[in-house]
Point group: C2
Chain length 326, copies 2
């Protein structure tokens, strides 16, 4: 098992990547990591952690900035750490790719190089949302703003396989984000997706309302990437704002309770990155502010996806779905 | 000034309504309230608060349940407290209508009886979201799931007038809910709405992302009712869940700090109900769980809408907009 890790992605690259890679190989005895990035910088950091012969380096000085337009950036820097890492995966030199760089660039390079699986119109980003009981995978969380019913249905299938294979949920409950519980609620597109889901062999639990998300209304929550992205950013910012407000008010009372970790359940970074689902490979995107721990968790997610043969399962399932719908 | 208040709306009607009405007339010396509902029940409760000759009763025993399909319920019970209250307003016997009953029934009755203003394709619900700095009015928050760009534009105009007249914001900042800051982000419909807003005389501050909402990215946040409803329910449930989690963890530490009111800033009930904007009248919907205080606040909102001549301002503005676009 060898995972290619973009060493130029986080805000403080390559420090988080190097420390995360070291932690990952320590945790997994069968894991090798290829760090892709500036060799001098990486080896300088690696020297602080001696004895890790399961970490190697593929050199490139080229980096894509988080705010560059993805497609033109990939053309400008064809030997960027993102391009090189995904090519390593494509050519079988690595079994998966993990990056905390530009989400758009990782998505575009994954689609251009790895290609979408047969039966997948549009690959999708699935973001794990912490809830009162475990995590809910929100698909799509920002890759596709306008979605047809058939695409929402594909997101559901991809998300269910991810939650089964990677999160170990035996029979993932799939919900459709909507404004009410009745099948005929919502936009025309969402109503049509409801019919596709209800007629499928998925464990479809029906519509899930905004108020049900936090109480874990389902394991896989299907929505278009417009609302998924807004919901994700709203959740992250609101949870941290509420926590900060509470902390400062308690401090006014002279109270300083052990608040560290109080909101760890809401810390997006702990959940091991965001998988790009529906491409012919394992491609995981991490937050630009990822800690070493978050990088380690994302590598662990990539490893579970490889170990479980997630991509083969998706290829088989979606190709079958396509034939069934033809 | 006379406001018709549905006395049969809350989960514990008419207790909250009667106590809220008493508090409202005590606060506003020029205010009269007509309670619409079961006279025997209402007068029984009113007897606990002697001396309020500015509260009168219009009797009806008919009530619409929160879960009835709105339009058929209005037909089934033409003398329901919602129908009667809105008719009082229509006929000039009351200057505004407030109800904590079925949102769908209040909306339907308002549109059927009061009618939409010229230039308004679809009336809209605007829900005040508490933020780090004051409130942001989210329009539409659930009345219309599929929205054309022109409708989003009308929501913006109606919301801006509401925030000016009722909330006293001198020049309300209008934002468009979107997945990025650039004008070409989002769905085709949202991009078209962006052009309409950018070319208008509104104080348009551009796209507002999910993460900007809590930090008060704008005074009026424009979105379709599908995402508005989901966002609202997600916000309410998440804020209370985070608060509950924090409380129980503090209790584990043996701490019992003064937490009452800690999250009052996030208490939807305090914000005085949800206005239905774009009809030829003042129609305010409250939460079914409204406290007497929430009812009093909603009556206060209705009073400010009447005092400020909000509906005249909307009629003038939207009719002008229609001519300009014809």
């Amino acid at each position: 098992m060898r995972i290619a890790l973009d060493a130029m992605g986080t805000d403080h690259a390559p420090d988080s990547e190097v420390a995360g890679a070291v932690a990952a190989v320590e945790q997994h005895p069968d894991l090798n990591i290829v760090l892709v990035g500036d060799e001098a910088l990486i080896t300088g950091r690696l020297a602080r952690f001696p004895g890790h012969d399961r970490i190697t380096v593929v050199h490139t000085p080229d980096r894509i900035a988080p705010d560059e337009p993805p497609v033109s950036a990939l053309r400008r820097a064809p030997r960027s750490s993102i391009n090189l890492g995904i090519e390593l995966h494509k050519e079988g030199e690595a079994d998966a790719f993990v990056s905390a760089g530009s989400t758009g660039a990782v998505m575009a390079a994954s689609q251009l190089t790895l290609r979408a699986l047969d039966g997948v119109d549009r690959p999708t980003l699935g973001t794990p949302f912490p809830t009162a009981r475990g995590t809910t995978l929100v698909v799509d969380s920002g890759a596709n703003v306008d979605c047809k019913p058939q695409q929402l249905f594909q997101f559901a299938r991809l998300g269910a396989i991810y939650m089964h294979d990677v999160a170990g949920v035996a029979r993932p409950a799939v919900g459709l984000l909507n404004v009410g519980s009745e099948p005929l609620k919502g936009t025309e597109s969402v109503q049509a997706a409801h019919r596709l889901l209800a007629d499928s062999d998925l464990n479809f639990v029906g519509n899930v309302e905004g108020r049900d998300i936090i109480h874990h209304g389902c394991d896989v929550l299907v929505c278009d990437g417009f609302i998924g992205n807004i919901l994700l950013k709203f959740y992250e910012s609101t949870a941290s704002f509420v926590a900060d407000t509470m902390r400062s008010r308690l401090a006014e009372d002279g109270l300083d309770p052990r608040l560290d970790g109080l909101f760890s359940g809401f810390d997006y970074a702990e959940y091991g990155g965001v998988p790009l689902l529906g491409v012919n490979g394992v491609s995981i995107v991490c937050h630009g502010a990822s800690s070493p721990r978050a990088i380690k968790e994302a590598v662990g997610v990539a490893k579970r996806a490889v170990d479980s043969r997630m991509v083969s399962h998706m290829a088989r399932d979606l190709a079958a779905g396509q034939i069934g719908n033809a």
